[in-house]
């Protein structure tokens, strides 16, 4: 066993089974994992620990060596050997992050090669090792102050493992934190744009009878991302709220207000048994500011936030609510006073940047109000109508010009020769060319319907889970909806599915 040829043989055997039935494939993979674990603990693999040529990437001379494993087919063996090498290096150098692991060194290249190519099915069986590798890569990139190198890699690896990304894992949190460090905001969008609907650990408590094996095709990635799979570290409510908050911050940095407020609302609406966490309050503060930026007013909160929680938000985030109320009054001087008065609050909450943007957006929002009344007016008349522009006409004109150029206001400035009253500001009628509009509508429609489909699938899954959950069965007992005579499980399950379906979506209309 303890030779490279034995490993090659077992991997060839595995590849042979890859095309066979998934049950057989599953058994073979499990066998391989156990045997690898055994050889690892018995130090039978030590021969490979220091062989730098093993697992080598790209060098053409070694390409034809039979023992050169390919992550796409031998993800498990490759991962074990890679980990073995890293561990050996860690032990010899007495460092957690040996120099060889840092970006552009030997081991880093191997990690990159692996993460780009690994076989997503096989990795399901070695979740712990896979996650450790991801974490190591992240740490190495950070240690070299190059977090950006890891972001793309981890994102691709996540999408490779679980294209739907609907199950929350600790890797999500790791990635979003890394992206914030690296300021690589657009990089994480493919992950953020997927809707997280599940959390590991739900279904493994109630393994469905006759469920397909791990390597089979699953409807939901929840089947292989569980607490025991190791693909995610154990999670707490704090991880969850942090992820959504960080995600919201990424969108904020990209000025995607509506997505940002959705993420912040997710944090605000996290259910609680009573206490309110500071993360939720932070989210609320940012949410108020985003609302001002997006719509120019204080929006009503999502209906599912419990009133007592909302009261806590309001009492803690008082300066923000004052700011919003002043904003709605459309009085620049009072807004400035309000912002100045609570300047230390903004900087303590790290929201100074957002508040500055709120101030900038004030002119835009008041111009929108003007636009609904006037089709055209001179700049002088405009500054009489709104307090948000400088008194000086030339200054006001340049402010308006910059707003038009930035695209936040659709209007045109017209200089007329001989018109003594100065520059004319003209707002075009509200509608863009219909051709362009139709295309936009189509695009949006496609996006929303994709979302809807994804959500509908998740609802189906959740219904199933909740229908099987012990709380629900307990509830059914209590509410006596449980058919007292019939203990036929399947009938009850069907009923519950129907009930739950109504409840989750029922009160939206």
């Amino acid at each position: 066993m303890a030779s490279i040829s034995a490993l090659v043989a077992s991997s060839a055997k595995l590849q042979h089974f890859a095309d066979q039935s998934s049950e057989e494939y599953d058994r073979q993979i499990r066998d391989l994992v156990t045997s690898l674990h055994r050889s690892l603990s018995s130090n039978a693999l030590n021969f490979a620990a220091n062989d730098p040529t093993l697992l080598d990437v790209g060098s053409a001379s070694l390409w034809n060596r039979p023992e050169n494993f390919d992550p796409a087919t031998d993800a498990i063996t490759y991962l074990f050997l890679l980990r073995l090498q890293i561990q050996t290096l860690q032990e010899t150098s007495q460092e957690k992050l040996p120099a060889d692991l840092l970006p552009s060194r030997v081991l880093w290249t191997k990690c990159v090669h692996y993460l780009k190519k690994f076989n997503p099915i096989q990795v399901r069986y070695v979740g712990h090792e896979w996650r450790q590798l991801i974490e190591l890569v992240a740490q190495a990139a950070q240690a070299a102050s190059k977090p950006f190198l890891a972001t793309q890699l981890i994102k691709d690896a996540m999408l490779r493992l679980d294209p739907s990304c609907a199950v929350f894992t600790s890797t999500h949190l790791l990635l979003v934190r890394l992206c914030l460090h690296a300021k690589a905001y657009t990089c994480i969008l493919p992950v953020l744009n997927k809707h997280i609907c599940h959390f590991p650990g739900i279904s493994e408590r109630f393994p469905p009878k006759g469920a397909p094996v791990l390597c089979a095709d699953h409807e939901s990635s929840l089947a292989f991302i569980t607490n025991n799979s190791g693909l995610s570290a154990p999670l707490g409510s704090r991880d969850l709220s942090r992820y959504f908050l960080y995600g919201g911050m990424v969108y904020l940095a990209l000025k995607k207000w509506s997505e940002a407020s959705h993420f912040l609302e997710l944090v605000m609406a996290i259910p609680t048994t009573g206490p309110v966490s500071m993360i939720m309050v932070e989210a609320y503060k940012k949410w108020v500011l985003v609302g001002l930026l997006e719509t120019g007013k204080l929006r009503p909160p999502p209906s599912m936030i419990a009133p007592n929680v909302y009261k806590v938000y309001q009492s803690i985030a008082r300066p923000y609510i004052n700011l919003a109320n002043t904003f709605e009054l459309r009085d620049l001087n009072r807004l400035n006073a309000e912002i100045d008065a609570a300047r230390n609050v903004w900087s303590a909450d790290n929201n100074s940047g957002l508040v500055a943007q709120v101030l900038d957006s004030f002119t835009v929002h008041s111009l929108v109000g003007i636009k609904s009344v006037f089709a055209a007016l001179t700049v002088t008349e405009l500054s009489e109508q709104t307090s948000s522009l400088p008194r000086d006409t030339d200054l006001a004109e340049s402010v308006i010009a910059s707003l038009i150029m930035s695209g936040s206001v659709s209007a045109t400035l017209v200089h007329t020769p001989g018109h003594s009253e100065g520059t004319m500001l003209r707002f075009p009628s509200a509608h863009p060319s219909s051709q362009l509009h139709e295309l936009q509508v189509q695009g949006r429609l496609a996006r929303e319907s994709n979302t809807l489909e994804a959500l509908a699938a998740s609802v189906k899954k959740s219904n199933n889970d909740i229908g099987l959950g012990d709380e629900f069965i307990d509830h059914m007992h209590k509410s006596k909806a449980w058919n007292s005579s019939g203990t036929d499980y399947s009938v009850a399950e069907d009923e519950t599915r129907f009930d739950v379906d109504e409840d989750i979506m029922g009160d939206q209309i």
């Binding site: 609904s372 809807l452 709380e471 979506m505």
Partner: protein, 472 residues
Amino acid sequence: MPDAFAPAQMGSSAAPPNLSSGTGPLGETLSPMPVKVDGRTRFNRLYLIGNTSTLLAVDALKSAVAEAKSGKDVGRYEKAVRALAEVAPGEQEAALDSAWVSDIQRSVRAQSERLEHELRGYKNNLIKESIRMGNEDLGNHYYETGDLVAAAKAYSRMRDYCTTPNHIASMLFKMINVSAERGDWIGVQSNVHRLRNSQSKPEDLLKNQPKILAALGLSQMHANSFRDAAASFLAVDSSLSDTFSEIVTPNDIAVYGGLCALASMDRQELQKQVLDNPSFRHFLELEPHIRRAIAFFCNSKFRPCLDILENYRTDYLLDINLQRHVPVLYTQIRTKAIHQYLVPFSRVTLDSMAAIFAPDVIGGEARPTGLNSPFVQELIRLIKEGVLNTRIDLEKGLLVSNQTDLRIEVQTKTLDSLSSFNKEAHLRIVRAAVLHAGLEIRDSDAEQGPRQSHQGTRRGPSGYRRAGGLVG
């Protein structure tokens, strides 16, 4: 005397009508009004004119004093004399006739005692009809002497002794009279409803219908629901004539009904329900200028219509029922006129609008359609209130109506609702999943680090309650 009328300054920007010449509408008001109005409202109307109009104060108050002296209400007499003494201390009537006052007071007291005594006698005899009449006499007496609270009480005591529907109807009408004079319009309304529900014979009900509708219309007008009021007034039958003159005259019905209809109905409704209404035509014939104004409005000739109303503004400001509502009614009529005027236009010059709706602005201001002219400010206010769906183009001096593309609007709306539905659905799914995975925030989170989710087996009773709440 440029501002002869104090009320004329109340929000009216139009030139005061030619009052001094004596041919104005007001000259007609004072002379016919006391002829047509009976009862206590006659004094009230005179007194109101005396207090609000400076030009007619002396005449009106003199008539008021005479009116009060012909009755038995000492309070009213004193009030009128005081008011007259302020305006014209030199007049002969401005001196209080104390002999008359004490004389009347004595006789009133005697009469009250006598009636109370008689009522007690009837009560001892337990004859229902006598008790009812005793209460009625007492109520009438209190009403005449100005003790309205006591009058209302006496009338309401009649209720238990009414034996026929006719009695009930007459009692309720007396209650309406008292309530109307007290300004208790809610009381008027409730009594009107009682009248409607009373079990009178159909022919009696038919006879009372005009009076009921007139009272209802009045109370609705005072409650600022002009559309309902218009409907009530318009339904009043011409058989009302002078039968209800202690509250309203047919002329009043025409004016109130016409103004309320103008303020609340569109052109088709005005044509159909007012001008082509055979029974209301009789009323309109009494006040032809209202008829003319409505006809002008229906033919989209807004300037003459508004001119007529402006000419009569002072007149209506002296009306006891209309006084409070004139500014509101006039603003509503004007707003509606502007709105109707804009219907056929996709763009219209501000100048042509100002010529119709603000002729005095044209002459008076340097830039009649500039931003600061009151007319443009009025338009801005209307646009902001959402009455007008237009925008102002100050460069070309145009009012441009907003073109709405229904297709785009529907598309945008649909997409917005879709995306908000998606968002909320996601929020709810996440919440359900969080609860199910046991990841909700608990007290212990404050002290401990991140919890491990597979502690789900240790969840407290609250976890069960929440999950139950979600699915149940």
